[in-house]
Symmetry: C3
């Protein structure tokens, strides 16, 4: 086996991280934009090739999530962030590196569901006030 | 961070819940209808816009799961319940609220796989005999 | 409830297994063929109806993973193994049976993503040097 982490990830830490990822998509997909933004630290960063500049800080992240939700709604669709393959590496007691697959699935009212985009996210997490928050997310699209 | 639960979900409880959801789809998809029904309490309820009336109790739930399996088989297909984005909120020591994404994927023998339906489930779980069982499931379809 | 395992799976064991499955797909999908092969024991076996003979041992498994990655790349595509519905049954302290759904999703550069194949994996895991490794994997395709 190759060495891959400075230390083991405990069951407790993994549970906390799985809860964060389990919950996060429901927030942005359901229109809880501010709560989604608050899964990042106050100056958290979101980098994606789909957008020209990084989205930085709670206010920008909130607006980003609002736009995501509004655009889907205006198109008469529901968009979902499907998270799988969560892999957690402990950097130290207070920081984690997480990667996962994130698929965007869209469904038209009265219509079919389709896989819009397949991405991989690479997140850097930090512990704040006994919670894990995202300090930086970088999205890679499989089609680019 | 917004307050979202009366108490933390422990790693042990989360493991029990993930095992329940990891296992449940294999049961209905593989034709183990009675065992699927027994992941609900004896008077458990299943509410879905796809069906005119709620399905209530072990016998009705068993028949529901049998029909799901038989219809796929009669169509020459295999149908799968793909569960992701499990989010667990503790109401108290004995009850949990869980939401998750549940996709139905169908594959024809010798044919392609397709995403049939994207749904969100909202479950209410209770602890019985040291196991978590579903007291009520409500399904929301993205296309309706 | 039906009896289904000799013993409970602890939160710690489930965390270890979820980490293994969370990580494994990133390895083969990202071209880390040898590291993927090393998630199996040294004489580990991979059985699939997609291939005429079982793939056995670290060297063969490594070559298998290299070919998977090279074929996708040569086709101008990225292929992903999406794992869900992980269900873990403890046989004893040192061995586990795991089943899960494994979908292959392909994305062309500049093109759409598509679900190529839906499979179910049945794995037999053993503990070695404080890690869980796959002793045998059997893949079942829904289209065959």
């Amino acid at each position: 086996m190759v060495s891959r982490s400075c230390q083991e990830v405990s069951a407790t830490v993994l549970a906390e991280v799985h809860q964060l990822y389990g919950r996060q998509s429901h927030l942005i997909d359901g229109g809880s934009a501010r709560e989604w933004a608050e899964t990042f630290v106050a100056d958290g960063e979101f980098h994606s090739p789909s957008y020209p500049a990084p989205v930085v800080g709670t206010d920008e992240l909130t607006r980003f999530a609002e736009l995501f939700f509004e655009r889907a709604r205006d198109a008469g669709e529901v968009h979902r962030h499907v998270i799988t393959n969560v892999d957690v590496v402990a950097v130290d007691d207070e920081t984690l590196d997480v990667r996962a697959y994130l698929q965007i699935v869209a469904t038209a009212r009265g219509g079919d569901s389709r896989l819009v985009r397949f991405t991989t996210i690479a997140d850097h997490l930090v512990r704040q006030n006994y919670s894990w928050l995202i300090a930086q997310r970088t999205v890679r699209r499989d089609d680019s």
